[in-house]
């Protein structure tokens, strides 16, 4: 048997790339800001100019590469029986959980995500190790997905442990 797991069917919203880039840029800017502040405020720390350049280059490289990589990896799918997600970039992870074991369905919109009209859907099971998260979904799509999952999870009896 040489079967492998296929990737889930749907990509997340293409706007997610831009959102991740903006988020990474903001985080990088804050990090460099802190670095410069420390450099100015503390006498013992003397940052060479090429250190700052290297930090800026690292942030820019990160912004250029990681969100694209993430977008290529992030996928999701909901069938009649299960939820299937794929996420990550360097470390990638596929998660599968049966609809019958779903305990909660959660939709969250962070500050940055709201600007881009995106949302994150998190599906939890009775296991602390088994939460499935779909990041960067279109807001309307996320609402539909939550409704669909809630309906399907409702149809199954038992306490899902």
């Amino acid at each position: 048997m040489t079967a492998l797991l296929r990737a889930p069917r749907h990509r997340v919203s293409p706007r997610a790339r831009l959102m991740w880039q903006v988020a990474a840029l903001v985080e990088g800017a804050v990090a460099i800001g802190v670095l410069l502040l420390v450099d100015l405020a503390v006498d013992q720390v003397d940052l060479p100019w090429w250190g700052v350049v290297a930090a800026v280059a690292a942030v820019l490289a990160w912004v250029a590469v990681v969100p694209q990589w993430r977008y290529a990896v992030h996928r999701w799918e909901v069938t009649e029986t299960a939820v299937h997600t794929q996420s990550g970039w360097w470390a990638q992870e596929q998660r599968i959980a049966p609809l019958s074991r779903i305990q909660t369905v959660d939709r969250a919109e962070g500050a940055v995500a709201r600007v881009f009209g995106l949302a994150t859907v998190t599906v939890t099971t009775a296991s602390a190790a088994g939460a499935l998260e779909i990041d960067g979904l279109d807001r309307a799509r996320a609402q539909d997905l939550v409704a669909e999952l809630t309906l399907k999870a409702d149809a199954v009896e038992g306490d899902a442990t």
Binding site: L4, L5, Q92, A97, P98, R101, A129, G130
Partner: protein
């Protein structure tokens, strides 16, 4: 033990706990107020006033009486309710069908009076003592009847996660226990981490004591040498180490006996019952339907001496109840294995040879162990110019790491046997996790870039009990998918495809073991 106490005529009424608690409460309150009482005693004697000392006796007694009078419980309308408190009334209430565990605990004073504390476990996430449903002080017989009532009413035994494996051993009335304690097992106690913890505690405490007595500097080596006149330093050191080892061993054995004396594990009424304790006895029941599997633990010390231990993976227990899942304390390996077979109702998961994870996984163990060790060795070599003693760790680090890597690689393995997923890994703490297929509530397949290059993944079966998951470490992709698909075909098969992917990055995992030979 004494009689079962008065049987309540109308079980719907609020009932008091056992009146013998009137003897227990004052003792407890006295202990709690001990500092105040001592203060009162001193103050009373100093001022010459009589009567203060009397107050010191009366207050605890009155408090105990109040506690007894204000606490009551009832089981009615399908709910267990506990009412307590004088100024701040608490009424705790839980539906009977939410009851997951009923533990009976008897500290020494309780045992003397034939009482036990009944803790009704509902798997709540709350850790506050105030929110625990403890019926503190019922006669033993009544507590046991209550436990049977509560567990019978719980629906867990009927539906839910039960699969074939659980009911492997049919009930035939009162059968002999599966496991009875043998005091000789205490020889394994010094080899567990408990022994190490005690040693560390002793060393830490000793160092602090020395510090308080004037610091280590005063313990001048020359003065010691004078006193020990003629005894070689090495011999003295060895003697000190030996004394330390002996004392910690004695402590570990003592702790083991106190905790596990009279350990028995038996099965009746569709649940496993275990009892243990020398001074404080504990009785725990694990519902068959909540027993999702077992973990066979073999820490290095136990493994080297032919021992092991067994814990249950129980679903739906709160975090604070980890300890109740011990099935066998450190004991000889055959005992542990036999118990595991009996609990699982299947021999396969314990005995079946495991499928190995292959050369790529072995290579990964070696690089992960040797990498840091070589760094340490390099650092030590750099320091060796100052003192040749640094050569010792520089040589030892890679050797230790190599031994660890070889052992970790040898440990890796997995299997699917008689409805159980089996996974083994680790060296210093090697474990064989056995999880019922019915208790698997999802799969995570994780791989870093390095793992993808080597064609490996870490397969994680998530579950609602124990450590929340069972991981199969660094298993070849095809094996991982095959394991998941055979364990839960309905769940995984819709997501399978047969051909290996050809270059499309989205069709992860794309790398196959053949891409790196």
């Amino acid at each position: 033990m004494t009689d079962g106490g008065p049987v309540p005529a109308a079980p719907d009424d609020w009932q008091r706990l056992d009146p013998r608690m009137l003897l227990v409460h004052p003792v407890r309150e006295t202990v709690r107020f001990l500092p105040v009482l001592l203060g009162l005693l001193v103050a009373g004697t100093a001022s010459g006033a009589r009567g203060w000392q009397l107050l010191g006796v009366l207050v605890p007694v009155a408090l105990g009486l109040l506690r007894y009078l204000t606490t009551s419980y009832r089981i009615s309308g399908g709910r267990v309710e506990l009412r307590r408190g004088l100024l701040e009334r608490h009424v705790l209430s839980t539906p009977v069908d939410r009851v997951r565990t009923v533990d009976l605990t008897a500290p020494p004073v309780h045992r003397l009076l034939g009482l036990v504390t009944v803790r009704v476990g509902t798997g709540t996430a709350s850790t506050s003592e105030d929110e625990q449903l403890d019926l503190d002080g019922l006669p033993v017989e009544r507590a046991r009847r209550l436990r049977e009532e509560l567990l019978r009413a719980s629906p867990a035994a009927g539906t839910g996660t039960a699969t074939d494996g659980y009911d492997g051993a049919p009930d035939a009335g009162a059968r002999p226990p599966v496991l009875t304690f043998d005091p000789a097992w205490a020889r394994f106690a010094p080899l567990t981490s408990t022994g190490v913890v005690i040693t560390a505690g002793l060393l830490g405490g000793g160092a602090q004591l020395l510090d308080a007595l004037g610091g280590l500097r005063r313990l001048d080596a020359s003065s010691w040498a004078d006193r020990a006149a003629g005894v070689p330093v090495l011999l003295a050191g060895a003697g000190a180490l030996l004394a330390l080892a002996v004392s910690t061993s004695v402590l570990a054995v003592g702790g083991y006996l106190v905790a596990n004396w009279g350990f028995t594990l038996g099965h009746h009424d569709r649940s496993w019952h275990l009892r243990r304790g020398l001074l404080t006895t504990r009785e725990t029941s694990l519902d068959d339907a909540r027993l999702a599997g077992v973990t066979l633990g073999e820490p290095l010390g136990l493994r080297a001496t032919g021992g092991g231990r067994l814990a249950a993976i129980v679903t739906g227990l709160g975090d604070g109840q980890e300890s109740s899942s011990v099935l066998v304390p450190p004991a000889p390996r055959p005992v542990v294995e036999a118990t595991a077979r009996a609990v699982l109702g299947a021999a396969g998961p314990v005995d079946v040879p495991l499928r190995r994870h292959g050369p790529a996984a072995t290579r990964r163990r070696w690089t992960r162990a040797l990498g840091p060790a070589l760094l340490v060795a390099a650092a030590c070599l750099a320091l060796a110019t100052r003192s040749t003693w640094w050569l010792l760790p520089a040589l030892a680090a890679p050797l230790v790491a190599g031994a660890l890597a070889a052992d970790r690689a040898r440990s890796l393995g997995h299997a699917l046997s008689e409805g159980y997923v089996v996974s083994r890994s680790g060296s210093l703490y090697r474990r064989r996790d056995v999880l019922s297929v019915g208790a698997v509530i999802g799969w995570n397949v994780r791989a870093t870039w390095f793992q993808r290059r080597a064609g490996l993944v870490t397969l994680v079966a998530t579950t609602a009990g124990g450590r929340q998951s069972v991981a199969v470490l660094d298993v070849p992709v095809a094996d991982a998918v095959a394991l998941a698909a055979r364990a839960t075909p309905d769940l995984v098969e819709p997501f399978l495809y047969d051909r290996p992917a050809t270059g499309r990055s989205a069709q992860w995992p794309t790398s196959t073991p053949s891409s790196r030979t």
